[in-house]
Each structure stands twice: as structure tokens, then as C-alpha cells.
Amino acid sequence: MFYRLSGVHHADYISDSRMFKVPADRNLAVFFLIIGVAAPFIIPSLYLNSYMLPWLIWTAAALGLNLVTGWAGQLHLGYAAVMAVGAYSAIHAAKFGVPWEFALIIGGLASSVIGSLFAFAALRVKGLYLALTTLAMQFVMDWVLTHSPAISGGSHASLQSPTLALLGQDITSDAGYYYVAFGWCVLVTIFMLNLKRTGLGRALVAVREKDFAAAILGVNSFYYKILAFATSSFIAGVSGALLVATFFFLAAPEQFSVNVSIQVLAMVIVGGLGSIIGSYFGVALILLVPGLVNGLVAAGSEAIGMQINVETLAHIPNAVYGALIVVILLIEPLGLGKLYGNIREYLMVWPFDQLRK
């Protein structure tokens, strides 16, 4: 209906290699970009900063993990640890007086170095062993953070983030924080969209699909796996730093614990491996549904006048969203991104769906 491919002809290779080949997709993207820019004026700042902002930053982070797990096919269970490296490096750099722009880059690069060092060791093994090695990395990082006050900020293990300032502007307003998160998420998304249409993205998928076939085309699997880890770690590092600078304001080890690693992985898998839009959905689900369910349960129990004790209340959302993940993956193992793709494909030919191949 809105989606139409008929009548859309790409007359040259530039137009055929556009980010969005279907005009409706492009219009939708522009629409959401405008919403994103206008959000501070239309969304109450409570929602803006407690839902929109973390959603955007976690989406950026999830896209980074999607790069390594979805594109390059390497299971990664220590992603939160890589985010921690970026967060702590950036904050220490900023405390030291480094301008935030550079502090963020330092954070990204520090993550990149540590992430690829681990990958270097980990890539000697494959599959499950790689997953275990990355998990070990997570535990090492947890241990380092809780045992070195110099890094984690003294005996309370909490590190105050200095006031964020970018391009000579102190950022202290809710809208300001939001725009930083929004900008970062847009940048990462554009990068991922470009990845879909360049040799780098193809090489990563080739390595994931059949490494021997990739090899005879001249693709050095080891190099591209390391590159995937390095790039994804950079995204993780900056996302981690921004999360602290615009959302938590205090860095603490629990923010980057093993649970968090598993949560990001869940975001990516529920969203769909290798799907960009899917990561947006996946993060929304994992991040926002527990809160929503919580509210609903509380409201519901009040309405029917039932007393639910705090402990049960705390567990219901987890149970519900766990069930939700299972249901989604049962319906569509390729995740929400694929589910969305199916709907889009249906609309593309509607109402002539008998024409579909």
C-alpha cells in the first residue's frame, strides 16, 4: 500500500545502492529522524530522559554487539565489560581535564584495544569456546573494577562523571543530554546502514557464512574478525561512556556486570541478528517492557484491590518479559526485525499478495 517497489526504477548504480531503496522506507526514516529531533518539545522530559535516552544509547550499544555477533557471527558474552572500559577511561580522562570530545574517543579507543586484545586470544578458539573466553573476560573485568579503587573510584566504588561538555558547550539540560544520545545513536545507525552496502559488511558476512569460501576470495578471516571486535568495542566504549555521562552520572561496577552483558545479547537476539531496525525493537522490548509490566501489574492489583507483596511484584516483570522473549523467538527465530520485515513485505504487495513469489 504505502510500500511500493513497482514504478521505482533504479536507473544508475548510485541509486541502486541507496541506503533505503524503497521510498516508503526512506520517508519513514526521515519521519522518525524529525520525531527524534523534535522529541524534547513533544515528549515530557521525565519520559525523554528516563525512557528515550537510555533506549537510544542502548540501541547504539546493541548495534555494536550486532556488528560482531550478527554480522561477523562471533558470540560475545563480555560486551558490558568492554563498555565499562570505555566508560571508566573516558571519565578518568575527562576528570584529568581532557576535553569530552577527546575523552569519548579515548574511551572508544581504550575499549577497542582491550576488546581486540581479548579477541586476539579468543579467536584461536571457535563457537562455544569463544563465548566462554569472552565470558571470562567479563569476570576478569568485574574483578578488576571491584578490586582497584584507583579505577572504580575509591572505597564506595562509584565514580562521579564530570559535567559533560561538547563543542565548548556545557551540557546540563535534559534536552542537551537527550540530543547527545540521539546524535550518537544516529551516527552508529548510519555506520551500520553503510556497512550493509560496502565491502566491509560483505566480508564480515562472508566470514560468518563460510570462512573457506571467504578465504579463496582473498578475505582474511582472522583479520576481519579482529576488525569486527575492534569496531564493535569502539562503539561499546563510547556508548558506555555516554551512558554514564548522560544517564547514570555515577559509574559503578554493577552497571556493567555480567547480567548486563547477557541483557545486551538478549536485545540483539530478540531484535534479530544482523538487523538494524531489529536492534531498536529488541532494546525497546528488553529495556522498557519490565517497567511497563511493573506499572500494569501495580495498577491492576490496585484496581482489583489485591495486595501483592513487593517480592512477587519484583519478579513478575522478569517472568513476563522472559516469556515474551520465548514467544517472539518461537514465532520468528530471526527476531523482531524479521517480523517487521515480514509485515513490510506483506504491505509491499498488498492487496495483490497473490503476486508474491
Binding site: 560496502t198 578465504a215 579463496i216 576488525l227
Partner: protein
Amino acid sequence: MMTNKQTANSAGDGAILECSGIERRFGGIVAVTGVDLVIQQGEIFGLVGPNGSGKTTLTNAITGFYPPNVGTVRLAGKDITGTAPHKVATLGVARTFQNLALFNGMSVLDNILLGRHIHMKPGVMRTALYWLAAQREEIENRKIVEEVIEFLQLESIRHELVDGLPIGLKKRVELARALVAEPQMLILDEPMAGMNQEEKGYMSRFILDARAERGVSVLLIEHHMDVITGICDRMLALNYGEMIASGIPKEVVKDPRVIEAYIGGSHG
């Protein structure tokens, strides 16, 4: 010394691929032993033998997947014995696989574009700054890919996923992917397996045209003797990993040892 060897073997403008004394074992199995072969520039060279006679193993030894335990491989005079496959590719060798090795989940176009990998410089910065650097490179390579797509008549399926294509088309896509790399040496491992007579005819035509238009040398593994005698300049027959006959196809296929291997051997 090199020149001596070349003049000794060559009628045309020099050898592109020279294997000497190749042996490859897997545990106790000797898959290939004592194989010598010289392929001249621009030659279409046939390799035949019953199942399990070591044809694929020989190509794996050449392309570095299973380096030979004994012997040397030279490409255009350069020793490439034991070089890793991804480096062999950059030196100008392309190959297709007996059991197909396309990347599922990717379109025909993207699969073929991957064949251009060695001519491109994929990188993180280029991807981030797509419009400044990568776009031009992508378009330029797309043009080269489109030429091959036209050559192999794949226009109508370029945007389709490779997953569901019939085997004949898959083999053609894989040939396209190998050709766009603009190799000097093209190794085709049973490119016509599972094809009907008409498809085989097309494929033979494509191989001949590829040589004519691109000057590529071809090592062709094939069970269909009519194809071998039809398009190969010279050939080699293996049995149980050893050379049993080599030379002009019309003569080799009449060789009693070859007939014996195919009739009496493990041929299936």
C-alpha cells in the same frame, strides 16, 4: 634455471601453474602422490579420475587449503607452496567448489561483488565516510560485476537471494564470483555436476568465452568426458592419487589405463 624449465615445458608464452611431485596424505591415506602438472598460459586443462582419486585434494593443495606434504606449487614462476588461501587469492588464483560455496542470505549481486574483494580496500573509515570514499569504489566495482553478470546472463536474478536458486544457476553465480576477481588461473571443481545437457553446453561456452575474452587459464575438473574432449587443450587422469595418463584429451581418453580406471575402478 627457471627459464630452462619454462622453455622445456612450454609451447606458448610460459607456464602459469606448475606442480611438481605433489603428495598429500590424510592420516594413513595417501590422497595424492607424485603428481606433476604444467598448465600453460591461456590453456584449458582437464583433470579427470574416478571418485576419490584425489582431484579435489590436488586443487586444495594448490590453493593452500591442504598444503602438500611433499612437492612444490609455482604460480607464474613464483613458489606458492603452502601459502594461505586468502593470499593465494590475491596472487591471482580463483576457484569454485565442488559442493558450492555461495554465501546464503546474501543476494546474487552481493555474492558476486565479494569476488571483487581483492581489488577493493574495505575498511572501517571508508564505511563510516561512505560518501567520500567507499561509494565511488563500490560503483566502479559494480560496473565490472555487471559486465560479468551480463556475460553469464544472470541479469534477471541479480537481486535474488542465492539460497533458493536451482543448482545450475548457483554454479553459474559461483563462476561469476570467481571471474570478477579477474584471476590468471581459474580452478573449476566439477562446475557441471548436476547439470542437464543444455546447461552443460552453456557452461562449456562460458568457459571458452572466458578464456577468449579474459585470457584466463583454466584447470577444469570434470567427469563428463565429452566436455573434456570438447574444450580442453590437454588433460591429466588420476587414479588412487597417482597420475595414470596425460596429454591430448582424444588420446588420453583412449588410454587403456584410463578406461580401466573408469570401468573397473570405484567410479560411481
